[in-house]
Symmetry: C2
Subunit: 243 residues, 2 copies
Amino acid sequence: MPEESWKPPLVMVAVDIVILTLRASKLHVLLVERGIEPYLGELALPGGFLNNTEEDVLAAAHRELREEANLHGTRPHLEQLGAYGTPGRDPRGRIISVAYLAIAPSLPEPVAGTDAAGACWEPVAGILSGGMKLAFDHHQILADGVERARAKLEYTSLATAFCGETFTISELQQVYEAVWGVELDLRNFYRKVQGVAGFIAPVSTDRRTTKGRPARLFRAGGRTVLYPPLVRPNPLVADEEEQ
Amino acid sequence: MPEESWKPPLVMVAVDIVILTLRASKLHVLLVERGIEPYLGELALPGGFLNNTEEDVLAAAHRELREEANLHGTRPHLEQLGAYGTPGRDPRGRIISVAYLAIAPSLPEPVAGTDAAGACWEPVAGILSGGMKLAFDHHQILADGVERARAKLEYTSLATAFCGETFTISELQQVYEAVWGVELDLRNFYRKVQGVAGFIAPVSTDRRTTKGRPARLFRAGGRTVLYPPLVRPNPLVADEEEQ
DNA sequence: AGAATAGTGTCTGTTAGACAGTATACA
DNA sequence: TGTATACTGTCTAACAGACACTATTCT
């Protein structure tokens, strides 16, 4: 038990961000090549320490997001994943990292972040299957972030955060298929999506595509909680658990 | 941007725990009366600082759980809710609190925690409706914890964590009704619960109750992820949002 | 037999999944 | 009119919600 003059230990606080987007109909995450030790030269999630004792954690996440990804104008979705504070996760000392999940619309231009030297979009599938190692415990953080995104697609309008201001229904379907890693029936998807009140709202204009019939445009409806939810197909219930 | 000799700021790290249980068929949370400033004498979630620089955050949560609630033998469910790190949330300085959600079976005995002086179980409903103020940002943490529990009842076997080693189906139903704050149809509940493979497993013995036909006993089946999920009734979809 | 609690069975409207055809635009 | 893309309609099996009765124990 703490005595009278006992002082709590001091630790460093960092933020790390799982920035997800769609590129070429595949789920990608933004990674940076580390320019300093430890893990110099290896790939890691973008992030950094709090600037000062007064900086808000969420504000720090927003700042890192701005520095690393060049999201001109767009206000991406940003939510906290949790704190990762196992001793020894960073050889520099006791560091607690607050992880965030960000969802960005797929931008035509490549990364070209102002700050981080080698920033790149990497396909998530290859990393999760163990084909690529990340620094620190970032593999776990990424896995948690992807699982959060998959789950929230079911019962929130998070999918629209992957799209631009306006989008077509098949673009929205590609989001679900890429994040969930499944194929969905086109007709059932149309029916369900348009059946959830307030999920998507029609926009008068049509988008001219290369060929064929132009698709109708939609924007995110006001509703953020989807009811009834869009349930993902049975994941062949093998019993695995968190914690 | 940090320069060469820049050092990250140091902050204090605490853990706070939302310990939920069922008492008299109502959802309760464990609160303690603060014995020191700030918020001296007010009610707060149990918690405290890391013991030392080497203590794991999850281990600290387990330690606080052991100190505050006397859970003889039972291994309660414990999962992280997230980090709460807004500057100014604690007048003593910059403190980041990692919040945890714990679910404990309802014990017949009152609290009598070894450590905290005035620990008591308080009904959650009254607090959430604004009828009771908590110290710090603990009202928000409690609200997040309850919402997490409500959500996880749908698609995980979390409800069994509210029960003892063995339980009857109507006891399980009382968990759902208390946490969700709704009434469920008894017959549909029996059908659904027994339809989810691996959710509950029968135990040969019957429990002698006061009167009437003895109820069959079950224990938690191996499965932690429920498929199909037990969806809670439509919450009259009014559009509210987190973040 | 009555009281008290435990546990089924059925009916119906809705939904999910599977599937094939029609519509619109451009060359 | 051919091609390429966008969209819609139907059928069926399963499920959800509503509802009323039977079963077992003790006194």
